[in-house]
Each structure stands twice: as structure tokens, then as C-alpha cells.
Amino acid sequence: MTFTPTNRAKATEIVGRYPRPKSAILPLAHLAQDQDGWLTGDAMKEIAELVGVTPAEVLGTCSFYTMLKREPVGRLVVSVCTNVSCLVTGGPDVLAHLDARYADDDDVYVEEVECLAACGGAPALQVNYEFHENVTPESAEGVVEQYKAGELEPRTVSGTAATEGSSPASERPPAGYPGPQRASEEDGPETRLITKRLHARPDDSWTIEAALATGAYDGLRTALTMTPAAIGQEQVKASGLRGRGGAGFPAATKWSFLPEGSHPRYLVVNDDEGEPSTFKDRMLTERDPHQLIEGIVIAAFAIEAHLAFIYVRGEFALGYERLEQAVEDAYAQGFLGENILGSGFDLAVVIHRGAGAYICGEETALLESLEGERGMPRIRPPFPAIEGLYAKPTVVNNVETLSTLPHIIAMGGAKYAELGVGKSTGTRIFSLSGHVNRPGNYEVELGTTFRELIEAPDLGGGVPNGREVKFLIPGGASSQWLTGDHLDVPLDMDVVQQEYGVMLGSGAVMVFDDTTNPALVAWRLAKFFAHESCGKCTPCREGTGWIEKVLYRISHGLGRPEDLDLLVDVGDGISPGVVNAPFTQTTICPLGPSAVSAIASLDKYFRDEVIAMCRVSTTAGVPA
């Protein structure tokens, strides 16, 4: 179907938002799905015409992203997560049940998906990108039936709210992170800076009213009285703030790489949270978008950018909606737009929705995606600070990093640096999931130990059923693992890396008890990386798939005793030496070596167990 006249006008407006028309491919594809229920061939041709490329290029881009459905999918897309936090809490059962239940139902399209950033509410699923968490096979079916019966109003298959401005989820208590049911006035063992407001105003923290009532944009007012250099090279530098996306690079240093006097330059917000078991940015986006916008304006002012793009993960339908509202309100209040708060500083913000690709969390892949390309990482150098978006100097910052800025300005960089430990200053939100009694996001000072995070009554609350911690994955799926023997290691970015070869990464902490088969976890992670590899580099494209196949055999009773050594050697071809963070790599970006982390961990901590498992399967000769 081609666009209706209304949508055609909307499409033209969308194209006009971007310095280069091709950037509009993903938003236009979403618009087409909103209209037609899937991405038709006609729509791709029309998009090609609207952005001035060939249909092959539109197809090339669109086929990279899982949310864009190139065949009819019915009215309801049910996306069931089976990544590790959901794996160990029953996700596969939910998937199997729904798969069977709706196999013949043309209205319902059940799909297995990768981590949805709802691990605090695992197992989780989405129906047309509306979250439903802590589901069981039966409750999941009940949810789908409610949509079918019209008791719940579904979003479109691209996740747009059916009635503009109304969002079904906003009416229901969210789960999985400290929402209303678990919001606590008291900080307890937490040190709440960036999670303060969402605890204080659990019912409306995302609104402009609640935000203004709780001090939003005060930091911005202060910042606008300062010079850009004073913000970046004094306050932020003094704060010691390091990127919260995963790499932990000092924010002020990143900004300082921008070539002087080179304009235009862009600020790009990385809100493409997808690292398995990480769900903090989703929370910050849904629950405190004004804090993020405030951080964006401060950062843009500091780096002298006048156009900022927020790249929001496509699956975050509610987050996107709340950000749109918040940006609109911020414009209305004079926090965005021309002459912000009378300072003479102008900033425009464009919100850009992704469409389902983990790799777009890697900053250069994100830039490619934002330019309407396939999300394939770029060769560096040139680094984005020199040649980023549209080959212009660009800073890419994570949501949590930017959300911290108002507080650094408000309290002063030096004061902020007093929090934390060593070069890991300040607080971080840790996304705790897996086998813990109280999964969720907790903002603690860096330097807290894993044990405290996992066991403290007001934090993780310990492992259920009195079980022991067998192993844990700090820092998201890309990190190597620790075991129950490492619980007293501090949450210090440098210590964990230098002494234990792991990383704090995106701040996810996955806990697995002593009933867990580590090979099964490793296989599920391998499956994730094989699915999310962009395909650009040979070792990652081919290697991740190979690793997945071998780990599948091992974890499903078909392993051979020599398979673990094979895996280590295959891993060596992607990440020579295999062992510790920071990675070595034969690839452009770290996705490939990330897929090797689990292998290295199996080899390091569970070698005997895995080989024993293979011996059994070799004798038995049949799958488990």
C-alpha cells in the first residue's frame, strides 16, 4: 500500500527533520507499518522515492531490523524473550505455550526475541511492543486473549499507540524496576541521584508537572550561566564521570576530542539499550525523560551542538511516547528550541526510533543506523568526534551518562567525585536479575560489593530458596563471568577489569544459582550474539554461528569431549588470546569478542563440568 495523503504529508515532514533524507528510512518504515500492519513492497518503493535512494537500498536497510515485518503478521505481534534472565525464570515455557496455542491463529504472530530490557520482571513479553512482565504461560495467554477480546487496546504492529496520546501501559502499574508497587521514599542502601524523582513521584514522574515540582531543569539554569568549557573541562572533568553505556570512557575526555571550531557538530543520545539483562536506560526514558532532556541540553551547550538526536530502541514504544511528550513540553517551556531560557543558546532535538538491532547500541553502528543505513559498525579512525554523524564531529553519549549531568552541575563536579571509589566515581544504576529475590534497578555508589548488591535485604534480597550463587555475569552478556567465590569484589570498573578480567559494562548483574547449567546459559548467549552479529566481519559473522551450533550440541546432550577445546580455538580466531577484558579482537567492533566471553568463562570455571557433560552425551548418544 502506498501512504494515505495524511501519512504522505507526515512522511514529508519526517524527511524534513534530517540533514540527509536517507535518515528517514526507519521512521518511514514504522509509519508504513502503522498504516498497513506490515512493511509492504509498495511502501518500500515509496520510501525509496521519498528519500531519493533505490528500493534495493531501502530493502537492504529495512531487512537488517527485526521489527520491520516484510510479510503480514496479523494484528498482534507477541514477542517473547528467552534471553538468559528469562531463560532461567521460565521464558522458554511461555514461548512454547504461546507458540502452540496460536500456531493456527492468523491474528497472532508469536516470535522469540532477544532481551527486551525487562529482566527485572522476567519472564517478559511484549504484545505490539507493550510490555507484560512476570508472566507465566497461562497469564501470557490471558494477556493475549484480552487483546483479542478488545479488553486491552493494542498498539499498532510498530508499537504506536492506537489512540494518539493514550497509552495502555500508562494506566497500568509497570513492573520490573522500582515502580509504584516498590517505590520507596527512603534511599536505604541506595544513593539516589538519577533515580530520585521516579521514586518520589511514582505515578507521574515522567510528566512536566512532576518534573518541575521536583527540581527539573535547575541544573540547566545553572549550566547556562557557565561557559561551555567550564561545564565540560571543569565540572564534568572534575566529576570523573565515565560513560555508562558499557565502555566506561571518561565523558569530559570524549567531548574534548571535538575539533575546535568545526561546525555543525551533533550530540547523539544512545538510548538503544539492548545489552542482555540491562534495563536501566529503559527505566530512565520511561520514568524520567525530563532529566534526560535536561542532561541533553547541558551536554549540547557544553559541546556547542545545536542539533541533538535521541536514538531510542525501537522496542521501547512507551519510552518513545513519553520522550516525545516530554520533548514537546520542554519546547513549550523554553527548555528546548531557540534562545533557551534567554541564554541565546539554541537546541533542536530529533527523536529517532530504532527498529530492532542490538548492534545499534555500538556507537558507530548507531550512527550508520541514524543515517538510514544498515547498522554496521564503522572502521575507526576516524572516530565520531572527528567524523561522526553525516561525517561531522559528533558526541555519542548514553542515557544514564546524560541523566547524571544535571546532578553534577547541581552538586558540583568535585562533590560528585567524592562519591564512588577510585576512578569509578559517583553512583551507577545496577540492573539486577536472574536468581535473586528482588530483581530490579538499584542506584548505588560505585565500590559497593557484589555481595551487598545481591544479598542486602533492601537490594537484591539474596538468592531464592536458600540456594547458593553458582556464577554471575557482571556488566551484561558481553562480559566474562565471576563465580560465587567473587561476591566480595567491589563494583569498581578498574578493579574488576584489572584483577578479574571482567567488566562492569552496562551495569547489568545476572545471578545464577547452583541448579543452573552454565553450558545452557552460554549457548543462549551465543545464540544471541549469532542473531545480533551485523554480518560485516568474517570472524564474527561466521564464528558466532559456529559457536552457537557447538554450544547447542553441548548443552543439549550432543557434545563431544573435544568440543570445548574446539570452542576455545574458534574463539581465538575472533578474540586472539581469548582471556580477559579488555578484549583483543580480529573484528571491527567488540560484538565478536563478546561472544567469546562465555566460552572463556566456561573454560576457566566449568571445564570439568562441561567435559563431563559431553562424556555422558557421547556415551548416551541421544539428545537430552
Binding site: 534495493a56 568474517t538 551450533k549 580466531g573 579482537q585
Partner: protein, 912 residues
């Protein structure tokens, strides 16, 4: 009204290949050997230039690096990990190790990864035997696979165009094809689709890869993922014999490696000649060899007996031809004999025919152009540009037909100059075409009105030009529906600019050779006029015509009037090729005696009294002259068909029968005679041509910088998927060449060395500069003693402006790459690609007619009326109609009046 867009500056991209201004060199140590390099040059190229082959798949030196395959990982001291050599710019003091154990292990791993899902169907793969995946696995890879799982499966080959098939199982996702399509051809009709292990090359389902350049992707594909239907399963690489040649499909003269198996041509690969084609070919050139093996070829001569053409022996046919020509000459004077054609042969063909026509028949009614070109004095007399001049031009002005359709590889060069090198492009035309979107300034005029905007062009170009470099004017015949006068008038104005050079856009394969060698009225070989060179050539030849003769239009008109009574048609078909079919048809019907020399029976030769079959490109050796005036060798790769012989030999035989013995027995002897007598060709003899690696630009002494002499003897082969360097194909001394096998073997003087696959590239050593200087100085001396070459003094009158009535559309007639010409129609792979007749008009004009797109209408001109499909086309301005020339069936030639200053048409709906 002229229209103009200013398109802002085309972005100068970084110049990573280091071909920019030389700002000093850096020292790099590669495997212990210190070498000099330009800063910023890619490490992989620097290593290669110094004899260190770093294995690779995705990197291609004519495209931007992407670092995808990860095969070229190396160790750079002080750098973390193993950077790919293809994306690592060299820096001073860099120390590189390509042989360390951990480098070898990483390369070994990449090969194993590439092979796990590769089908290993090598026995039935076209690439088998010339495959870098095979070769590099042998040299660098593991001996066996540890992969025991199921391989990835895709439907085996799927067509992505009429000539290219894609096997996604074999694909190693290097992106060479997709990058070529986007970066080089500007036709991004293929892209990567899907991701991770499923990543694959895609087209949009109903939009195939219809690029004129699609065959290049097959050549540069490092595996057998892309195969070309004309070559598929035709040969094994080790059975191929190869020689270096030039394509003569159009006048760019792309260098190619022509390959045969069992005495059949099976493949033409692009040779990477920096000044000419940089490795690329268009598909018409690449696949057009098929026409050589057409079943419609003439094998034996024919003579007319009892009203019908019947086969005859060569002596019978030659006697009959000679007798007919003698009778006309002797009975009615030399002015009763005329010759048309000759633009598709070799220089040697053109020269001997010119000598025969002008000294034996003593007629100057000789024209290699068929009323579709430019006046010879303009082409021969203006200062000439070379193709490389485009790269550093201060501006390129297009005063020519659509280069993409007529001279495709020149289109690539101009596109690259505009897109990559920042050369401003000025597009002067009656409608939009393939280069319009790359133009900095667009000037539009009404058809036939180029002369009206000449001051504007000159002003704009003057404003635009800053800094060094010539202004290159690409000059051709923008439309066959108007005489060249207006274009020439505009060119005359541009000729007054400082350092302006003209690149002729005449299209037929050797039209420039034919003009240079006297197959045009008023000129003798070597760019001298009949007047200036008459005495010189009377010495050389014994006789020359008394006075300048008629051009093609004049000859045909004169034939209709009954003055021309005998006509030689040399590899041409005026009934199809002359823009005014009414005149052409009446002429051939009126002429008393026609000798048709050619490879096929055509609309013209069916009227002939004698038909003499000729050998074609690939069946004969010689030289050709491209649009720069660059003389390039063409090679014989297979035996001539049947009893056919080269055109020049036929001329010699006829001369003998008319009492003149030219005493020319071999191509070398013809070349040596040309070098001796033709002023522009001074010094360009057989021995020199054999050694001139990039050919010889005429006159040689004015283009000594273009001359690269091989010292001779040594010849080395390249892998077909990598750029094939000129002068590296061993065929001269009878060695079977193995271009394409990937095996590098040095043959020739002294020693024969076989080395590891792809490990060494040693080019034939070039002769020292002193030798080039000596050769060119001698040529200058010889030219100084010869008659002066002609120089055109631009003085033209503005053609009269003709008003168009409001109901008429003014016709523009151009060409499409694929047409009804013999190369196209006799090549099975190309014939279906001709788009067919189609009248294109602006959507508004289209709406006025009231038919469905593609609906048939009657098109009426003062000359005739034909039925054609009509389509709306936004590239065509209002009031203008566009037709492609020489498509199958009735068309443009039936509408054009060659004598009219413009041709207007009316479109009428058909009564049902």
C-alpha cells in the same frame, strides 16, 4: 529558456589512495624491509607495491576500503591487536610484520571461517582454478575443516539481471559488488540484505541489477558467487588462451584481456589501464564478443547473378568488384565512385582503404561517418584532451550526447571526476541525462539551440574555473535530429578559453582512427588536408583526388541524383545507421553498383552486387584509435570465420586488380607505412606499438608523457579478480597466458619463475625515460619534415532559429547503449536488452495526448509517420520529444529530414 541549477561544491573526499599532491614520503618497514611510501597510503597497497602480498578478499584498489573480510590482518608495532592492512594508513616509522605466527593464525582462522559455510562445489564453479579462496587457502589456510554442522543453504543461483547470476552459498560477503554498484557505477541496485549469518546480496524483487556495468561485479567477485550467463560453464580457466586487446564497441577503447577456449571467444576481462578504463568495462563491450560467433556471419563472398546474391569464390568476387569500380571510374570519372563506412575496422583497414579509394579510385567521396557525427575538421583540428585530463580538469563541459548511453566507461570517468575528485561539471543539453545529477551547473537549451546559450556557457565556465587544470569540453553530436551546427557554434566560442581541450564524443569504435587515416572528405592520413598534403601523398601513393569530395549526406544525395554510380560500403549499413532513412534507402536503390564489405548481410548489403565477407574484432590483429587519439593494439585471439579476411587485405587485393601493388603483406608493414607517411603518426611504427604499454597518443611527440615503453620480453600474469595490469599478459611469444588462474608465472627472457599464488607481482620493467625521449624526439623531427597538420580556426555562423508551432514537439534523437546494431543484435546475451522504440515526452505533454503510458500513438514529421509507444518522462522538458536511435523496427530514422535545421513532430492518437 535556459535553466540552471547551482549545486554547490561536490565534496572532495579524503584521498586515502595517496594519489594527491605529493607532500613528502614516509619510511615504513614491512617484514624487515624499509620502503618509501606516501603518507596516508593504505598499508596493503604499499606492501603490494614493494612485493609483499598481503592476502585479501574485500579490498580492491579502485574502491574505498571497508575492512570486512579481515583477511589482511597484520601486526603493526605499537598498535593494539591486529589491524587490517587495508584500512591502516601508513605513517612514518611504522614497523609492520605480515608473517608473525599470530598473524598467520588469525589469517588461518579467517579462511576457516570463510570455508565453514562455503559449498565447496569448486568442480562446477566458474571461479574454480582462478579463485582466491582456493589459492589463499592453499597458501595461508588450514588443510581441513573442523566444522561438522550443517552448512548454510540458499537457492542456488538466482538471476539478479539478464546476464548476472548470484549464488549466495558461495558468497563471502566481501561487498566488492555492492560497493562497485554504489561507488563506481552509481547504480546501487544491489545491496546487502538481512544480517549476521543470513547476510546476503539482494536486489529489490522487481528491480533487477540492470546496470550497464554489472559485468564488472562478476570480474571482481573473489569467488564464484556472481557468474555471467555468457561465460558460465563455458571453460575452465586453465584451458583459456588470453591476449591483451582493446574493446572496439565504442571509441573509449577500454583495455581488455580477451580469452578463448577451443578457438572460440569466451570472455573479455577489463585490464586496468590507468589512462583509459581503470579496469572497468561496460556490459556491451564485455559481452559483445558473442556477435563474432553469430550464425548469421558471412563465410563466403557473394555476387549478384540473375538478380540474386549467390555465393562465389574470392577470385570471382574480387574480380567482379574490381570490374564494377573500374567501369564507374573510367566511364564516369572518379567522382562517380564513393565509399561509406570504415569506422568499425582497424587503423590498418582504414589506411589501406583510404589509400585505395583516394589513390586508385581517386575519389574523395569518402566518409567513415554516416551523417551522425561532427564535421571532420572540428574533430581533427581542435586541441585534443586525453581521458586523464578529466581527473584534474578545472571544469568539464558536456556538449555531447548522454555519455552513459554512448561512451559508458567515459561516463564512469567523468562521474568519478565530479563525485570523487571534485571537478565541476557543466551540463549543457536539451534534456536531463546520466550525468545531470552530478553537474555543478546545468544549462538547458531548446533542441538545436546550443548556439543560443554559447555566451552563457562561456561566462559560467569562466566564473567557475579557479586554479590549474585544463577546461575539458566533451564534444559530440547531442541529437541526430539536428545538424551539428549549433553545437559546433557553441564549441567555437569555448575554443577561445585559455587551456581548453576537446574530448571527442564520437562513438563508433574506430571512427577516430578512420578520420585520422583519411576516410573522410578533404583529408589525407595523418590529419592533413588534401590541399596541404596532396604533394606529399602523391609522392607516397602516386596519386590523390583532384578536389575535396562529399560527406555521407552528400554522397547519398548525389547517389539519389544519379551522380554517384558505384558505392563501396565498408562495414556499415546506411539504411539502418544514417539518420534519414528515406534518403539512405533511395540512394542504395539508385546506385548502379554496390560493393558491400562486411561480416553480415544488412539492409544495405542486400542491395549489393558484390558482398565481401570480413574478419571481425578478435579474429584479426592491428590497432585502433580511441577518442583521445590514443593508438591501441587489438589482438587476434581466434581464427577468422570461414573464408573471411581482414578489410585491409581486401583493399589491397582490389588495388592489385586495378593495377596498383601496395606491397603490404602484413599488419606490421601497414603500420610501418602509416608511421612513415602520415604526419600525425610519425614514429608510431609496429615495433613501438608493440612496446607502448598504454598505447600511443597522437601525435606522439606532443604526448610523450603518455608513453610508457616496456623493455620487452618479460611478461607476468595477474589474477583475474584483481586489477589486471597492462602489459602483463604473456601471449606475444606464444606462451599460453594464465590470466585468471591466480598463478603468477614469469616467462620470457632468461628465466621462468613460478611463485606462490598471488605472492609476487613483478611488472615488466619499463624502459628508461631517455629512451622515451629519443623516440619522441625522432617523431618530432619526422613530423617537422611532413606537411603541417590541420588546425581548425573556429569561425562559424549561428544557425538560424526556427520557430516551433504550439502543437508540435521538437525532436531529440539520442542513442541507448543497447540498440539494433550488429554487436548488440547478433550477441544472444545482449539482443534482448534493447529497450525498443519509445517516444518520451514531458508528463504534461503526455497528459495532453490522452493515452495510457506505453500506449501506441502515431508520430508524424515532415518526413514520415510511424507508430510508437508513448511514455511520460520528467527528464524531457515540455515541448520536446525524445527518441532512441536505431532500435528494432521503425523509428527515428523514418522521421528525420537530414537537411532540416531541426525536426518537429506531432503526436496523434490512433483511431481504433
Amino acid at each position: 529558456m535556459p535553466r540552471e541549477h547551482d549545486r554547490g561544491g561536490a565534496g572532495m573526499t579524503a584521498n586515502p589512495t595517496g594519489t594527491g599532491p605529493d607532500d613528502g614520503s614516509v619510511k615504513v618497514t614491512i617484514d624487515g624491509k624499509e620502503v618509501d611510501a606516501r603518507p596516508g597510503e593504505w598499508l596493503i597497497k604499499v606492501a603490494q607495491d614493494h612485493g609483499v602480498f598481503i592476502p585479501r578478499f574485500c579490498w580492491h584498489e579502485r574502491m574505498k576500503p571497508v575492512g570486512m573480510c579481515r583477511m589482511c590482518l597484520v601486526e603493526v608495532e605499537g598498535q593494539k591487536g591486529l589491524p587490517p592492512a587495508c584500512t591502516t594508513p601508513v605513517a612514518d616509522g611504522m614497523v609492520v610484520n605480515t608473517q608473525a605466527d599470530h598473524v598467520a593464525k588469525a589469517q588461518d582462522a579467517v579462511l576457516e571461517f570463510l570455508l565453514i559455510n562455503h559449498p565447496l562445489d569448486c568442480p562446477v564453479c566458474d571461479r574454480g582454478g582462478e579463485c582466491p579462496l582456493q589459492d589463499q587457502t592453499l597458501a595461508f589456510g588450514p588443510g581441513e575443516s573442523r566444522f561438522v554442522e550443517e552448512k548454510r543453504h540458499f537457492e542456488k543461483p538466482i538471476p539478479i539481471s539478464d546476464t548476472v547470476l548470484l549464488d549466495r552459498e558461495r558468497c563471502i560477503q566481501c561487498g566488492r559488488c555492492t560497493r562497485f554498484a554504489a561507488e563506481i557505477a552509481g547504480d546501487p541496485l544491489i545491496d546487502f540484505g538481512e544480517r549476521s549469518g543470513e547476510m546476503q546480496v539482494i536486489t529489490y524483487p522487481d528491480e533487477p541489477f540492470t546496470s550497464y556495468f554489472s559485468g564488472n561485479t562478476v570480474q571482481i567477485c573473489p569467488v564464484g558467487a556472481l557468474t555471467a550467463t555468457p561465460y558460465r560453464f563455458k571453460a575452465r580457466p586453465w584451458d583459456l588462451a588470453t591476449s591483451e586487446t582493446s574493446c572496439t564497441t565504442c571509441s573509449v577503447g577500454c583495455r581488455g584481456a580477451l580469452q578463448s577456449s577451443s578457438n572460440r571467444l569466451v570472455r573479455l576481462l577489463g585490464v586496468d589501464s590507468e589512462p583509459v578504463n581503470q579496469g572497468w568495462l561496460c556490459d556491451k563491450g564485455r559481452f559483445g564478443y558473442e556477435h563474432v560467433h553469430s550464425p548469421n556471419r558471412l563465410n563466403r563472398p557473394m555476387v549478384r547473378r540473375g538478380g540474386a546474391l549467390v555465393e562465389a569464390s574470392w577470385p570471382e568476387a574480387l574480380d567482379a568488384a574490381a570490374e564494377g569500380l573500374r567501369r564507374a571510374r573510367d566511364d564516369h570519372g572518379p567522382g562517380s565512385v564513393a565509399l561509406l563506412g570504415g569506422a568499425r575496422g582497424t587503423n590498418e583497414d582504414a589506411y589501406v582503404w583510404a589509400r585505395f579509394a583516394k589513390s586508385v579510385l581517386r575519389t574523395d567521396h569518402v566518409d567513415a561517418q554516416l551523417g551522425d557525427g561532427l564535421p571532420a575538421e572540428v574533430v581533427l583540428g581542435l586541441p585534443r584532451a586525453t581521458i586523464p585530463d578529466c581527473d584534474h580538469a578545472a571544469a568539464i563541459v558536456l556538449l555531447a550526447p548522454d555519455l552513459k548511453e554512448e561512451l559508458p566507461v567515459l561516463f564512469l570517468r567523468v562521474r568519478r571526476a565530479a563525485e570523487e575528485l571534485g571537478v565541476p561539471l557543466v551540463d549543457v543539453a536539451a534534456r536531463d541525462h546520466g550525468l545531470t545529477r552530478h553537474a555543478r551547473i546545468v544549462i538547458r537549451h531548446t533542441p538545436g539551440g546550443a548556439g543560443d546559450v554559447r555566451d552563457e556557457i562561456v561566462d559560467k565556465v569562466r566564473d567557475l574555473v579557479s586554479g590549474d587544470g585544463p577546461v575539458v569540453v566533451v564534444l559530440g553530436r547531442p541529437s541526430l535530429a539536428e545538424p551539428p551546427d549549433a553545437t559546433v557554434h557553441a564549441a567555437a566560442a569555448l575554443a577561445g578559453l585559455p587551456d581548453v581541450r576537446f574530448l571527442s564524443a564520437l562513438r563508433r569504435g574506430n571512427v577516430h582512427g578512420a578520420l585520422d587515416l583519411g576516410l573522410t572528405p578533404g583529408f589525407l592520413p595523418g590529419r592533413v588536408t588534401l590541399e596541404a598534403g596532396g604533394a606529399h601523398f602523391t609522392d607516397a601513393w602516386g596519386a590523390v583526388p583532384d578536389s575535396p569530395g562529399l560527406d555521407a549526406a552528400g554522397i547519398l544525395e548525389s547517389a539519389v541524383q544519379g551522380q554517384v554510380q558505384a558505392l563501396v560500403i565498408l562495414g556499415a549499413d546506411p539504411v539502418a545507421d544514417f539518420p534519414d532513412r528515406v534518403v539512405a534507402r533511395r540512394a542504395v536503390e539508385h546506385v548502379g553498383f554496390i560493393v558491400a564489405v562486411g561480416a553480415f548481410l544488412t539492409g544495405t548489403s542486400r542491395h549489393a552486387d558484390v558482398v565481401l565477407p570480413t574478419a571481425l574484432w578478435g579474429e584479426k590483429e592491428g590497432t585502433t584509435t580511441n577518442l583521445e587519439g590514443r593508438v591501441l593494439r587489438v589482438s587476434q585471439q581466434v581464427s577468422p570465420r570461414g573464408t573471411t579476411m581482414p578489410d585491409w587485405r581486401i583493399a589491397g587485393e582490389l588495388a592489385l586488380r586495378l593495377g596498383a601493388d601496395f606491397d603490404l603483406a602484413t599488419v606490421d608493414e601497414v603500420q610501418d607505412e602509416i608511421a612513415r607517411v602520415a604526419p600525425a603518426h610519425a614514429g608510431v611504427d609496429a615495433a613501438l606499438l608493440r612496446r607502448a604499454r598504454e598505447g600511443v597518443v597522437l601525435p606522439m611527440h606532443e604526448h610523450s608523457d603518455a608513453l610508457v615503453l616496456d623493455a620487452g620480453g618479460l611478461a607476468i600474469t595477474d589474477a583475474s579478480w584483481e586489477p589486471i595490469r597492462p602489459g602483463t599478459i604473456a601471449s606475444e611469444d606464444g606462451h599460453a597466458s594464465n590470466v585468471g588462474t591466480g598463478v603468477v608465472e614469469a616467462t620470457g627472457t632468461g628465466s621462468t619463475t613460478t611463485v606462490k599464488p598471488g605472492l609476487t607481482e613483478t611488472e615488466a620493467p619499463a624502459a628508461p625515460e631517455e629512451e622515451v625521449a629519443a623516440v619522441t624526439n625522432a617523431a618530432a623531427t619526422a613530423a617537422g619534415a611532413a606537411p603541417d597538420r590541420y588546425r581548425w580556426e573556429p569561425a562559424t555562423d549561428a544557425p538560424a532559429v526556427v520557430k516551433r508551432d504550439a502543437y508540435a514537439l521538437r525532436l531529440v534523437v539520442g542513442r541507448s547503449l543497447y540498440d539494433a546494431g550488429r554487436i548488440n543484435s547478433e550477441s544472444p546475451s545482449l539482443a534482448p536488452l534493447a529497450p525498443g522504440q519509445m517516444l518520451l515526452v514531458h508528463p504534461k505533454d503526455f497528459d495532453r495526448v490522452g493515452v495510457a503510458p506505453g500506449g501506441r500513438v502515431r508520430v508524424v514529421s515532415a518526413r514520415g509517420s510511424v507508430q510508437l509507444p508513448l511514455r511520460p518522462d520528467p527528464s524531457t522538458p515540455e515541448g520536446v520529444a525524445f527518441l532512441s536511435f536505431n532500435q528494432p523496427g521503425e523509428g527515428a530514422a523514418d522521421l528525420i529530414d537530414i537537411s532540416a535545421p531541426v525536426n518537429d513532430i506531432r503526436v496523434e492518437t490512433l483511431r481504433s
